[in-house]
């Protein structure tokens, strides 16, 4: 990994590169005023082919927006998105949609209740004209159902006949139908029961192994993200505050926000959890409409200094592949 002079994080074999991505949403305020919610503000990262990059953070930190902007489901306000060496920031997305797919959080809302499962999976095949004949289309659908652990007789049923976990499988089958290289997984397991979550997590891992997929895995459950990701980025109020290899991020994190975030995760082990010291943060996340000046975390940070008020910390590499945005390290 190299750091270019304008602070871009680049990898040699990157499938996705995101450079200084900004995503502002306008909100009305007053009679003439127009304000912006800076949902994502100057975020850069890259994902290598076959890698899983996890994004964690609390609600409103911009992790979902980042995922959607990468797919250009939102038009980025500024910054560049590079897919496999090609700048797609202003490109016609049609040819890329086939390569870049998404799995949504809520399997109850993301499937059309009036379509059969076969048609749900078949739709992207039709749009991208991937099947020459009806039989071929049907074969692809059956193959996809098999891949996600459903059986062929499920194709003629409707989404309401399935449980949450099975619906999420359908959503994944739909994403896989076009044979993508890259999938944004936006909280794909948070709506599922605990006993089902592991099934889906394992499936994501198996599919990655078999199909060489690259994931951007967005979730607020840090234990799950740590389990599935090679590297993890931590976001706070639209900024990437720390980025490192998963193990490094969980065990050797340095940003005060990451530290409190990791320490707040309840661990299912009574003895260890009694031994653990938690760093409890004061207060709430400030509104992204009026983010604090300088470092955005300074209002809740126990180590904040004058410098944090005026100067925004840059994401810098402190050890190989470990990036942190904080003045006090």
């Amino acid at each position: 990994m190299i750091m270019t002079k304008d602070n871009h994080i680049k990898t040699q074999n990157a499938l996705i590169e995101v450079l200084n991505l900004k995503q502002y949403f306008p909100v009305k305020s007053g009679l003439f005023g127009k304000k912006f919610v800076k949902a994502v503000d100057d975020v850069s990262f890259s994902i290598e082919r076959g890698e899983t990059l996890g994004l964690v953070g609390e609600s409103g930190c911009g992790k979902t927006t980042t995922g959607r902007s990468v797919l250009r489901l939102y038009e980025p306000t500024d910054g560049r998105i590079i897919y496999n060496g090609t700048d797609i920031t202003n490109a016609d997305m049609k040819p890329y949609r086939q390569k870049m797919q998404i799995v949504f959080q809520d399997p109850y809302a993301s499937l059309d209740p009036r379509m059969t499962v076969g048609d749900i999976i078949g739709e992207p095949i039709d749009i991208n004209k991937l099947a020459a004949s009806k039989k071929e289309r049907n074969d692809i659908i059956m193959e996809m159902l098999g891949r996600v652990g459903l059986s062929s007789e499920h194709a003629n049923r409707y989404p309401h006949e399935f449980s949450g976990g099975q619906r999420q499988r359908i959503g994944i089958a739909r994403a896989l139908a076009v044979n993508p290289e890259f999938i944004v997984c936006d909280e794909p397991i948070s709506a599922l029961d605990v006993s089902i979550q592991a099934q889906i997590v394992n499936m994501f891992e198996d599919l990655q192994e078999k199909m060489g997929l690259t994931y951007l895995f967005i979730a607020h459950d840090i234990s799950v993200v740590k389990h599935i990701s090679n590297r993890i980025g931590v976001m706070y109020l639209g900024k990437l505050v720390e980025l490192a290899e998963s193990h490094e991020l969980v065990f050797h994190n340095v940003h005060p926000y990451t530290r409190s975030l990791i320490s707040a995760v309840p661990i299912p082990d009574p003895v260890n959890s009694r031994k653990r010291t938690r760093i409890i943060l004061e207060g709430d996340v400030p509104s992204p409409l009026n983010p604090p000046s300088g470092c955005r975390f300074r209002t809740r940070c126990p180590y904040a200094t004058e410098r944090c008020k005026t100067e925004e910390p840059k994401l810098t590499e402190i050890s190989k592949g470990h990036y942190v945005a904080c003045h006090n390290i």
Partner: protein
């Protein structure tokens, strides 16, 4: 042994829906002593929230208690009228809910909503009720309580609203606080704040807590006793250490195997529980977990096992244990 604070015996509860009878609780017995923090763990449809609602006397049509008893603090809850129930609800037993936005009334100020409880259950006059509500907000860690009392729920953040809910629940210093997924809608750092607050307050006002959650991390942290529910039945019960270090029901074992642990050094593959959750309209005849159980035997599909007492505090309803017990008996007879 001291008389338990809460004693639920053989509770049966059904929802009579147009599609048929859903047996939400099937022979549930739970008891807790004063000072306990009891965790009820289970997934959606396991009956954990319904259990809580029945303690509060909040079972609405088409739900109906079809058998069993609930004794709480000298009251037989399942035989009380709504009028009698109102006297103890909020006073002796309180509840906080998952979503603090929908459980506060948006058109009343925070002050109104706290004072409503105080007026209903105590003889404090207006001024004293106001002072008490300021005191309560301070207790739950809200800054500038006088200002907050005049605000409406939408002006507060999620964590703050949950603090207000706790303040309302604690207004009359209840003996028992039931928390139904109190932090599921909150972020992790806020969740840590709220859980810490609850434990702090437990010691301050000397109450017992029932913590209902699907998050095993939370119960490991807070609870001294844990009840594991599956498909309307209690399948295992024990101390936190017994449940986490010596689980004896296949469902509990499966759950513990299937969750990733943030403090594990190696990448270990998760072992999921196969199959799908039970369809409560057509529950299986025997043990409800049998269709998903790796150790399923013929008898599991036919009859529900009785509890096997493992230690004085630990019991589990699984045929495997019965078989063990049976074989042990046979051996000692020889």
């Amino acid at each position: 042994m001291k008389k338990p604070l809460l004693d639920i015996k053989n509770l049966r509860l059904s929802f009579f829906t147009p599609a048929g009878e859903v047996k939400a609780l099937n022979d549930v017995s739970i008891s807790m002593q004063e000072g306990d923090v009891l965790g009820i763990v289970g997934e959606s449809g396991s009956g954990k929230s319904v259990t809580a609602s029945s303690i509060m006397g909040l079972i609405a049509h088409p739900g109906k208690i079809t058998g069993g008893t609930i004794d709480f603090n000298g009251h037989r809850i399942n035989e009380m009228t709504e009028k009698e129930m109102r006297k103890i609800r909020g006073k002796e037993v309180s509840m906080i809910f998952q979503d603090p936005m929908t459980s506060l009334n948006p058109v009343y100020t925070i002050g109104n909503q706290i004072q409503e409880v105080i007026n209903l259950h105590t003889d404090l006059n207006k001024k004293m009720a106001y002072e008490r509500s300021v005191e309560l907000l301070e207790l739950v860690g809200i800054n500038e309580p006088e200002k907050r009392l005049k605000q409406y729920p939408h002006e507060l953040s999620g964590g703050m609203r949950q603090r207000v809910m706790i303040a309302i629940a604690l207004a009359c210093e209840p003996k028992l606080l039931i928390a139904d997924e109190p932090t599921t809608a909150l972020d992790v750092t806020i969740q840590a704040q709220i859980l810490e607050l609850m434990m702090e307050l437990k010691n301050k006002v000397n109450m017992s807590i029932i913590m209902i959650t699907h998050d095993l991390g939370i119960v490991a942290n807070m609870c001294n006793r844990i009840v594991v529910m599956y498909a309307g039945k209690v399948v295992e019960e024990g101390t936190a250490d017994e449940i986490f270090y010596n689980p004896r029901h296949e469902y509990t074992k499966g759950l513990l195997r299937s969750i990733p642990k943030i403090d594990s050094e190696k990448h270990e593959k998760l072992i999921p529980i196969d199959g799908t959750p039970v369809d409560m309209l057509n529950p299986p005849a025997g043990c409800p977990f049998a269709p998903r159980c790796g150790e399923c035997m013929k008898i599991c599909l036919k009859r529900m096992p009785e509890f096997t007492q493992i230690t004085g505090t630990h019991k589990s309803a699984c045929w495997l244990l019965q078989k063990e017990a049976f074989e042990q008996e046979r051996r000692s007879a020889k």
